[in-house]
Symmetry: C2
């Protein structure tokens, strides 16, 4: 018998703040792939709640969460500036709780956030940074049409070691 996990995918709402901070705190120390480390986001639940509300109301920012019941186990974000000259550029970030790797949650989050961006009136370039050693993620992004634009030497420092970071982008 095959185990089925019921996973919900939807835009985040302010009351997700606590579950979202929990997810960030867990995932930040599971791998060295995130820019955030054990220092955490530094945000209170109230600040995060306001942050989510601002994103929800923004035409070029987006936050999608993956849930099992009330637990957030992954998220995809599009962050864009409000400066007119660059408001068409969305920076993508995806994180999935390591406990739930292998269930295609990253793929589902990516599809959802790309659908959101395509439906938006503003975003027509999605860019991202991903560590060169994170081959699983790079493979996923390539499969969805992202192209390598450059490699940043010393793009991140993890455990005292400087690592290269790939810059990828997809025009939509």
């Amino acid at each position: 018998m095959r185990e089925e996990i019921e996973i919900g995918i939807r835009e985040a709402i302010p009351t997700d703040a606590e579950a979202l901070l929990d997810c960030l705190e867990r995932t930040a120390v599971q791998t060295g792939f995130m820019t955030m480390g054990e220092e955490g986001s530094g945000l209170t639940v109230e600040e995060e709640s306001q942050h989510i509300a601002n994103i929800y109301d923004s035409p070029n920012n987006c936050l999608i969460v993956a849930l099992i019941e009330d637990k957030i186990i992954g998220m995809a974000t599009i962050h864009a500036s409000n400066k007119p000259k660059i408001q068409h550029i969305g920076e993508l970030g995806i994180v999935v709780d390591k406990e739930y790797w292998g269930f295609k949650i990253g793929t589902e989050l990516l599809q959802e956030v790309l659908d959101w961006a395509e439906a938006s009136e503003m975003i027509n370039r999605i860019e991202l940074k991903v560590q060169k050693r994170n081959e699983r993620a790079i493979h996923l992004y390539e499969k969805y049409g992202f192209e390598l634009e450059g490699i940043m030497e010393r793009g991140v420092k993890d455990n005292g070691e400087y690592l290269p970071v790939c810059m990828m982008a997809k025009l939509i």
Copy 2:
């Protein structure tokens, strides 16, 4: 007889706030090279003053100004994150009032900010974005050891047109 202009170069202090905002407002509309446009910084003098104080006290952020008497005619900034994994990366920005192009002010600002970065205990990668059409600036950066890492398609929108942006970096 050759005209001499006396130009001061130094770190910005909080009381420079008003002159700095004036400079940003002038330069933002002189060319299409800046990411900021006619919308301006949106900061009050008081906010800018606090911002300068924060930069002045930061170990990995820096703001250098070029002055003629009390007028700020150019600036160089290093902006870095406080996240441990990327606090070694400084993003460089330089702007010079178009009225004063041709006096090597950009070169002096760049030298000063590189000296600052080399003396800092934290910064060992300086990166920047520059529009591909801004050949004068690219030439200056190359002369000072910056290398092209990639080209961002649609990296900026100016007058309704999408333009490529170069990402350059220098390891120190």
